[in-house]
């Protein structure tokens, strides 16, 4: 062994092994067999609340103020933790795995937690007035096996954003109403040259399911029909083929849409004035109004395949509550305060999202810029978050959908695989 003695080599190797084991074990941890026995005492003196970070500017501001109000009002300490969307899945999973879940968790999925029996239902922790104030579409999406476990914290709806200057230059009079018009308009914008892009299409892993859903719904398709998975239905295959053709045949998208994410790929193309159209939502609108004022934009309902009434795709996230001994009362008070008009609506306004309560709908109705979304909110189309299988399918869609729209991609076989995953229970 040359200059280094054998014994020392073994010591070194052992050290290295330890290091590697330590690194690899980061994903490990103890089991959470006793998740609902932790806590203790008759009434919790503090609760741990894990919140997803919606924006650097506003999330912490609101929640710190909320924490103070809550503590002053109840005398219970609120242990606040704000985690970025990139890490929150992993952190939540690690907390549960270590038998130490938070008391309240903010996430875009709840059904698997409900299935594992970890959550309080609305009967346990929501007051009647809060329950009746929630918009029925969100009550439905938050209900697993006839009990509500996912309490909506805010919502968003998607619509078609278009660049008015580019439309004028391309001599397009009004936003497209059908898919044919959409392709024709996108071609006109693309033909302007100078790096202009007809449609910015994000089908990368970040949120492929959202981009696909909105097109799917506007072709009369759905993830589930009458309680059965219909991911590879003829309409859905047709939709995905249409999305693939946009880049491979019509050539009206940016480079490589299957590998473009929304926030760091597609949005910058629109806010820099390069893209003619994009599917956007409230926070993008907020950015355009404050940071990118030189982009003159309009918002229109999504075009549909055959020109029928446009469908709106919506998203809501949830604030679920974990069953732990003694924390029920503190949690009840948390929701009572959260769903108070001056709290929930302040929060939603500051983040640029849409309300989840009827009283919120009323309060927001005066805002003209939100009209296009608010009108559709009660009839909004959501993804099947009430099915625990969706939690896995969503991940499969995010990871695999992009491969279908590459030049060699095969929409039919990708959707067939997803259908198989879904039928196997996710």
């Amino acid at each position: 062994m040359g200059a280094i003695g054998k014994a020392r080599w073994f010591a070194r190797l052992a050290g290295v092994t330890a290091l590697a084991l330590g690194l690899a074990a980061c994903g490990g941890g103890t089991g959470a067999d006793d998740a609902d026995n932790s806590g203790g005492g008759d009434s919790a003196k503090e609760i741990k609340v894990v919140i997803a970070e919606y924006s650097k500017d506003h999330t912490a501001t609101f929640w710190n103020a909320f924490k103070k109000t809550y503590e002053d009002k109840t005398g219970v300490k609120l242990n606040l933790q704000i985690i970025s969307w990139n890490d929150i899945d992993q952190q939540a999973s690690t907390m549960v795995q270590n038998g130490n879940p938070p008391d309240i968790l903010n996430l875009n999925a709840y059904a698997s937690y409900a299935k594992d029996g970890l959550l309080y239902s609305s009967d346990d922790v929501l007051t009647d007035s809060v329950k009746s104030d929630l918009i029925p579409a969100f009550v439905k999406s938050g209900t697993y096996q006839s009990k509500m476990y996912g309490f909506p914290d805010l919502s968003s709806a998607r619509a078609l954003f278009y660049n008015k200057d580019l439309f004028a230059q391309a001599k397009i009079a009004s936003p497209p109403k059908t898919w044919d018009e959409f392709v024709a308009d996108a071609k006109k914008v693309q033909a302007l040259g100078g790096g202009k892009i007809g449609y910015a299409q994000p089908l990368g892993p970040e949120e492929a399911q959202a981009e696909y859903s909105i097109w799917m719904f506007n072709n009369g398709g759905d993830w589930k029909t009458d309680g059965k998975w219909t991911i590879n239905s003829a309409k859905n295959v047709e939709t995905l083929q249409f999305l693939k053709d946009l880049s491979t045949k019509d050539k009206v998208t940016q480079n490589n849409p299957g590998k473009t994410n929304r926030t760091d790929g597609a949005f910058p193309l629109f806010t820099s004035g390069k893209a003619g159209m994009i599917v956007g939502f409230g926070p993008l609108q907020g950015d355009l109004d404050t940071k990118y004022k030189n982009v003159k934009y309009g918002i229109a309902p999504m075009p549909t395949k055959d020109g029928s009434a446009p469908q709106t795709y919506g998203v809501t996230d949830y604030l679920m509550a974990f069953k732990k001994k003694g924390n029920q009362d503190a949690i009840k008070k948390f929701y009572e305060l959260y769903y108070a008009k001056d709290q929930v609506n302040t929060w939603i306004k500051s983040e640029g999202f849409l309300p989840v309560t009827q009283s919120g709908l009323q309060e927001f109705s005066s805002e003209a810029s939100l009209k296009v979304y608010l009108d559709t909110l009660p009839n909004i189309h959501l993804t099947p978050t009430d099915d625990p299988a969706w939690d896995k399918i969503k991940l499969a869609v995010q990871q695999n959908l992009g491969t279908a729209v590459s030049p060699s991609g095969n929409p039919q076989s990708v959707l067939d695989d997803l259908q198989k995953t879904a039928e196997a229970g996710g």
Partner: protein, 277 residues
């Protein structure tokens, strides 16, 4: 106590996790024996991931050591501003890997990245290249970053090795009539052997386990086309449809074994060549 806390306990937990059945939420439902291991071995992406890992480790380590040899040689010379250059070389090492990787996603960006602008202006390429999206360029782009962040450490280990070689040896070689290349090959290189060995082994392990570069530069790409074992593990636990902590832990056990085998093989190879010579 320390050894127990840092070494044995995590190892036990890793093995325990690898034999458990976990729900998607991270809840342990019980034990399922070796099923997690079987699931990892039968995973359709495993072949791709292993090949990627091999390419990634071998390319980064080999190129790093080659370039570092030259750099160390250069830094050992006495020249004006040597101190400044030595400091400058250290910077990429001191910077957080995540930040460096994030910076490179901006440099490599198809539309906004400066690399495409630069190469187009210099007429090296006529059309922008999708460095991180085009499958032929993704791995080379990641290797470039991997090499860049590995050079400082390696160059310094080799520099220390060079400095430890007494000047008389070179003098003797010169007197014996050896040319510069011959002196380097016959005298310097053999004396650098311990330093080369250390830097190769440490780099192998370090590069093998390097998560931030692959993760950050590859996160926009669907599927597993450019994943190595370490990002594969992470996706198994948190991003893929499997979303299974137990399976990820099993992959983690394989990962450790794989490193051990690679290092032992390398040391064997080195030893064998030494005896041969």
């Amino acid at each position: 106590m320390l050894i127990f806390g840092v070494v044995i306990y995590p190892a036990i937990e890793l093995v325990r996790a690898s034999t458990g059945e976990y729900s998607i939420t991270g809840l342990r439902r019980g034990s399922n024996g070796v099923e997690n291991y079987a699931n990892v071995l039968s995973h359709p992406a495993l072949g791709t991931v292993l090949v990627n890992t091999l390419i990634w480790v071998v390319a980064v380590v080999a190129i790093t050591i080659l370039l570092s040899l030259g750099l160390a040689q250069f830094l050992s010379k006495d020249f004006w501003g040597r101190r400044a250059v030595r400091w400058a070389v250290l910077v990429p090492w001191a910077a957080s890997l995540v930040i460096t990787s994030r910076l490179f996603t901006l440099i490599f960006d198809y539309y906004h990245g400066i690399l495409n602008v630069l190469l187009t202006k210099l007429h090296i390429i006529s059309e922008p290249v999708d460095w991180l999206g085009d499958d032929t360029w993704t791995m080379p782009s990641m290797i470039l970053v991997g090499v860049l962040v590995s050079i400082p450490f390696t160059a310094y280990v080799l520099l220390a090795g060079l400095n430890a070689i007494p000047g008389e040896v070179h003098e003797a070689a010169r007197i014996d009539g050896a040319g510069p290349w011959q002196a380097w090959r016959r005298v310097t290189l053999p004396l650098l052997r311990p330093a080369l060995l250390v830097s190769a082994v440490l780099n192998m392990i370090y590069v093998f386990n390097s998560f931030p570069i692959i993760w950050t530069l590859n996160d926009r790409n669907p599927g597993y086309t450019h994943d190595t074992t370490i990002t594969f593990m992470y996706k198994l636990a948190f991003k893929s449809a499997d979303r299974d902590v137990g399976m990820s832990a099993a992959a983690g056990v394989f990962n450790v074994l794989l490193i051990l085998v690679a290092v032992v093989l390398y040391l064997r190879l080195v030893k064998w060549r030494e005896e041969d010579a």
